[in-house]
Symmetry: C2
Subunit: 304 residues, 2 copies
């Protein structure tokens, strides 16, 4: 075929799955969105989509999966691609290989945020950077870091949402919504925590609420600087769409860093340092495609 190799891509999010068939250059040929219910419904729908994709365009050469977690993303692990302790009903123990394995193509599974970080690095707001941190502030909070072309991984993927920020209970009496930690970052600043505290989403609230949430996100931003020294911080996810939020995060991050960390990219105002995703809502599926491109050895072609 003249269109080159084909990539099956899965963006597995907490509320929706985006499935795509793409050419190796990233062009999307087919795309479908399904609700994140249980593996009993999602997995057959995924199989049906990729069956139809193969029927229409030919054999799939690689699968890239960018998924919510917690999930085993260590390629050396026997449980690679398996959801671990997620509280989402039905998902613990489910494995992407169970449904994608029968296509006979290599499968790479990474977290949604690692995938988005890779996609932004290759084709979005992280182009030209050696180190990029992508954080989502949405249903949950999580961060992926791409450092010199690879997503970083310790014994598991990172869990930035569960950092415990300073919490002034006089200014913010809400006890937090995290079942594990109460007032960790996710417990204070993710979408559901905002809804639980104020009964509406952040874009429906005022400056005081935006500044309060920005303070928690700025704690994460400053901590990411000190522990990863990224060339750029990208913040995506539904909460980040609240008007004025990214500007407030920049101001409060700059104040927290106190001028200690010097770098030309850390310009006054942090306007070029703390940014929204270049790929917008496509960061996730682009990231999944990017993971597939990496297996095919063509990732470097896209690096700016």
């Amino acid at each position: 075929m003249t269109q080159g190799r084909l990539i099956g891509a899965v963006e597995a999010g907490g509320t929706k799955f985006v499935l795509a068939l793409a050419r190796e250059d990233g062009t999307i040929l087919m795309r479908e969105r399904i609700a994140t219910e249980t593996p009993a419904t999602c997995f057959p729908a995924m199989a049906a989509f990729f069956d139809a994709a193969q029927d229409a365009h030919g054999r799939i050469d690689a699968f890239g999966v960018a998924s919510f977690g917690p999930i085993d993303i260590d390629p050396a692990s026997p449980a690679y691609g398996t959801f671990t302790t997620t509280p989402k009903p039905g998902w613990a123990g489910a494995r992407f290989h169970d449904v994608l394995g029968r296509f006979g193509a290599p499968i790479v599974v990474d977290t949604d945020v690692n995938g988005a970080a890779m996609g932004e690095w290759m084709a979005g707001a992280g182009q030209g950077c050696d180190t990029v941190a992508y954080t989502t502030v949405g249903t949950g909070i999580g961060t992926g870091v791409v450092n010199r072309g690879r997503s970083l991984l310790g014994f598991s993927h990172y869990e930035s949402g569960h950092i415990l920020p300073p919490h002034d209970r006089a200014a913010d009496p809400f006890g937090g919504a995290c079942p594990y930690h109460g007032d960790c970052l996710e417990g204070l600043a993710c979408g559901p925590a905002i809804e639980k505290r104020w009964g509406r989403s952040l874009d429906q609230l005022g400056t005081a609420e935006v500044e309060l949430v920005a303070g928690y996100i700025a704690h994460l931003a400053a901590t990411l600087v000190l522990l990863h020294m990224p060339d750029r911080l990208i913040f995506g996810g539904g909460v980040m769409k609240a008007p004025g939020l990214i500007e407030a995060v920049r101001r409060q991050t700059e104040a927290k860093l106190g001028g200690y960390v010097k770098h030309p990219r850390l310009d006054a105002g942090l306007e070029r340092y703390i940014v929204l995703p270049g790929l917008g809502d496509d960061a996730g599926i682009t990231g999944a495609i990017a993971l597939g491109q990496k297996i095919l050895g063509i990732g470097a072609l896209r690096q700016g």
Copy 2:
């Protein structure tokens, strides 16, 4: 010569320099300790030591330098090996290559904590781990992370000491000693901050003070878990010698993580997870030698 290649090693600490000549297998042949004054005194002493070392044992094949910072440790930078914004009088702008360059051997410069992390990974408490974080709590606070054989680096080395932990001013009214941030981790928990707050060192203080300081260090430990997922956390430096401190750090870190992060190495009590350096006070100079071994391509030989 039958002894193989020779490594010149420099552990450049805030209060002392340790200089060593080592065989490529790490055996130390000569060793000297000098006070950290200014480059005007330290640099000639360093040159004299390595001149004498070469006279006695032959040509040095590589230099490994594990240094205090802030310092440029990016090998691709034209200022590689140069101190940047350090407030230490005389050191900003000083460059290790200015004194070691004339020996004609390759020079690798990394931070003291990255060097210690590398040394512990190769020959100490981090053997057998994929990811190790080494933190010093002494004159300052800093962390180095070795991930799958390399020290991690963003646009600069990490600066974990300047993370802002929750600070309950009712329990700890001390405003903090950091000139940039006041009550960042270093401002609250490094040796000089403890001396400034209570007039003596932590090993001369009681359980309440140890628990208070442990809380700040545990904030760093939990944050390192969430942002690097290391297989082991090693804590060295003078403050960590206070009786009961490491045990209190383990307890409070476990409480902060709240059972969310699961891993066999995160055993109950964290006794095998949060540990003191296996190399004791030799972690620094062993790390500098390890950096030299890496240039000579023999690092992998020492990995357990």
